[in-house]
């Protein structure tokens, strides 16, 4: 209901696209045998993971299991020690840096909300907006009516219309979370990596977020990391449990919830 108005056709119009994403064989994201270590500590340990096109995947796991690190690997922030990471069949993400990966259509919301404090809410969204992001076109860029409308739609979605002209620096924690989600929407990504979207949100806002994410699936492949089980339950189809840097188990919510190992390391009770 929300996304239909804000998210336009994506994919075909990517100007910076390094090539069509080939997902004919199913998965759009491939991670195989990925290892990351920090000063000897293995944050990701022979991790393999496949995400299908259009899928909404929930990712849970204890604190420090490596979920954020996984996103760091996919978005190019952290280079793994070994393993392979492919976007579609053809794009080797390990060869690309962060902006190049973003340009292929992989976007991310950070665990700690990170918005641009000095820019207004509006400008934050505008910056994120899908567009030609090279220097000269950016310099000569003019916003057209359609783009304007899109920004306003997203502002509505994230309920920040009234604050649109304020610097983002004055937003409260929860408002920043919303703004980041808005920025994600503006980017029209193929793959969305959403790290703990609902931290600091009220119960009702959580519901709205769930609705939003559900409406986006199908068009976008989404990975959501969250510790709020109620929320996860409300959106989950397939859930992956990460533990000590590798996949502990994968399955439907019910399967996972009843897995004794998951209960032991994560859910408790």
């Amino acid at each position: 209901m929300i996304a239909n108005t804000t998210i336009q056709e994506s994919g075909a119009s990517q100007p910076l696209l390094a090539g069509e994403i080939d997902s004919r064989h199913g998965p759009i994201l491939y991670l195989e045998d990925v290892n990351v270590s920090f000063d000897g500590f293995k944050a990701l340990n022979h991790l393999s993971l496949y995400i299908d096109s259009g899928e909404l995947r929930c990712m849970i796991g204890p604190n420090g299991a490596g979920k954020t690190t996984l996103m760091d690997v996919i978005t190019g922030k952290t280079k793994p020690d070994s393993g392979s990471v492919y976007f579609g069949q053809t794009i080797n993400l390990l060869e690309l840096d962060e902006p190049a990966i973003a340009a292929t259509g992989i976007c991310r919301k950070f665990q700690k909300p990170s918005v641009f404090d000095a820019l207004t809410v509006f400008e934050n969204l505008e910056l994120a907006m899908h567009a030609d992001k090279r220097t000269w076109p950016t310099l000569f860029y003019r916003r057209n009516a359609e783009q304007n409308e899109r920004i306003h739609n997203v502002l509505d979605t994230i309920k920040l219309t009234s604050l649109s002209k304020h610097p983002a620096g004055i937003l409260s924690h929860g408002q920043k979370q919303w703004l980041e989600i808005g920025m994600l929407l503006m980017q029209e990504p193929k793959v969305m990596l959403v790290d703990e979207p609902i931290a600091g949100m009220t119960h009702q806002e959580v519901e709205r977020t769930a609705e939003l994410l559900l409406s986006l699936q199908g068009k976008h492949s989404i990975i959501v990391v969250e510790h709020d089980m109620e929320f996860v339950r409300s959106i989950a189809q397939k859930v992956t449990v990460l533990h000590e840097g590798s996949v502990l188990t994968e399955g439907t919510m019910d399967e996972v919830q009843n897995d004794p190992r998951v209960i032991q390391v994560y859910l408790g009770e």
Binding site: F110, F116, L119, T135, L139, H166, P167
Partner: protein, 373 residues
């Protein structure tokens, strides 16, 4: 567009207005009236203002990289000096055989150090268009190479600041060397003509001032257009959260490079305008302390505002002119005290004060109104 931009529009307009008035009035006054007219300004005033305006342009250039892109360049003077040297070389070549040794090709300092031929890098500087090109290209190229290396390797913060300082320091030492062929410590002096016009004539001085003023205005307009463009916002975003911008798909290093090179070229232009008006260019322009002073002008005026640095540069240099004449023995006390007081009392620079008093905007300001991350 947004409210706070309107808030800065007023002083901006005022700055533009005053600059325009000054740059038109003084030169036109001098060109059109007799020397005893009230509208006729002495060569002293004209070249003084010319110098201030060149410095203002230099400060503006630094504000672009520092105020907006957050790159604290401690070597901006290097680009200024390079532009200045390019212009100086042209002016030297213009002396021709009127030098003290009458050598038609070689500048005097080369003659008495027994240089036999003009070094290759001096070739072409007899042509003004080529010189004009080099005024932009020499600093631009240096900025391009240096910036490309540094930004690509993600050198940021103080590390970047200090290596820009190292850069200008290295250039200082290099230009001091007489073997470099730039006149060593004495630099380039004794200029006579620009485009065939006598540099000492009143009209040429007035015209130089006019050109400087118009360049400054032009640069201010372009800079404002840039910072209000989306590129300007990307650059501001980079200042606050560089890594986040990458994940939005922008090539941070290219944006930084763009603004860095543009700013270096502006600085080069400032240098080129400065040299014919003060009559000398010497390696001390490369000294790290000079570059530091530019930072001070920007900070005093208010960084991240474009017009603030212009006013800062003019104020500080005017203060210097006055104080070195009025309190020659103790003026450093007063200047030092001014720096301390401005920092303590006027966190947004002099312009912050003016802005708050005159336009008492309740809107937070783009740079310092928000707690820094």
């Amino acid at each position: 567009m947004s409210q706070y931009k309107q808030a800065i529009d007023k002083p901006y307009t005022l700055t533009v207005g005053v600059l325009l008035a000054v740059t038109m009035l003084i030169p036109l006054g001098n060109l059109l009236t007799d020397s005893d007219s009230a509208l006729h300004f002495s060569a002293y005033i004209v070249s003084l203002i010319g110098k201030y305006l060149s410095f203002a342009l230099l400060a503006l250039s630094l504000d672009l990289v520092w105020g907006y892109a957050g790159i604290l360049v401690l070597g901006q003077g290097a680009f200024f000096a390079l532009g200045g040297y390019a212009m100086g070389m042209y002016l030297m070549r213009q002396i021709g055989s009127r030098g003290v040794y009458g050598n038609p090709l070689l500048p005097d300092f080369m003659v008495f150090l027994n240089w036999q031929e003009l070094p290759w890098y001096w070739l072409g500087f007899e042509h003004f268009p080529y010189t004009l090109l080099m005024v932009f290209l020499a600093p631009g190229f240096l900025a391009l190479v240096f910036g490309w290396l540094a930004f690509r390797s993600r050198v940021t913060g103080v590390y970047l600041s200090i290596i820009t300082q190292a850069l200008t320091y290295a250039l200082l030492l290099a230009f001091f060397r007489n073997e470099m062929g730039f006149g060593g410590n004495n630099g380039l002096t004794d200029f006579k003509e620009l485009l065939g016009f006598n540099l000492q004539s009143e009209a040429v001085r007035a015209l130089l001032l006019l050109i400087t003023g118009l360049s400054l205005l032009g640069a201010l307009l372009i800079s404002r257009w840039i910072v209000n463009s989306k590129l300007g916002r990307v650059v501001t975003a980079i200042r606050d959260q560089e890594s986040r911008v990458r994940f939005l798909g922008y090539r941070v290093e290219l944006f930084k490079l763009w603004i860095f090179v543009f700013s270096a070229m502006l600085a080069g232009l400032a240098g080129a305008l400065y040299v014919p008006q003060v009559g000398i260019i010497n390696p001390s322009e490369f000294s790290p302390l000079n570059s530091l002073e530019i930072v001070i002008w920007v900070a005093i005026g208010g960084r991240g505002t474009l017009y603030g640095p212009i006013i800062g540069a003019i104020l500080v240099n005017y203060a210097k002119t006055v104080l070195t004449g009025l309190l020659p023995e103790i003026w450093l006390f007063s200047l030092g005290a001014v720096f301390v007081l401005v920092t303590l009392l006027l966190p947004d620079g002099v312009l912050g004060l003016v802005r708050n008093k005159l336009w008492s905007s309740t809107q937070p300001l783009p740079v310092s109104g928000v707690p820094k991350p």
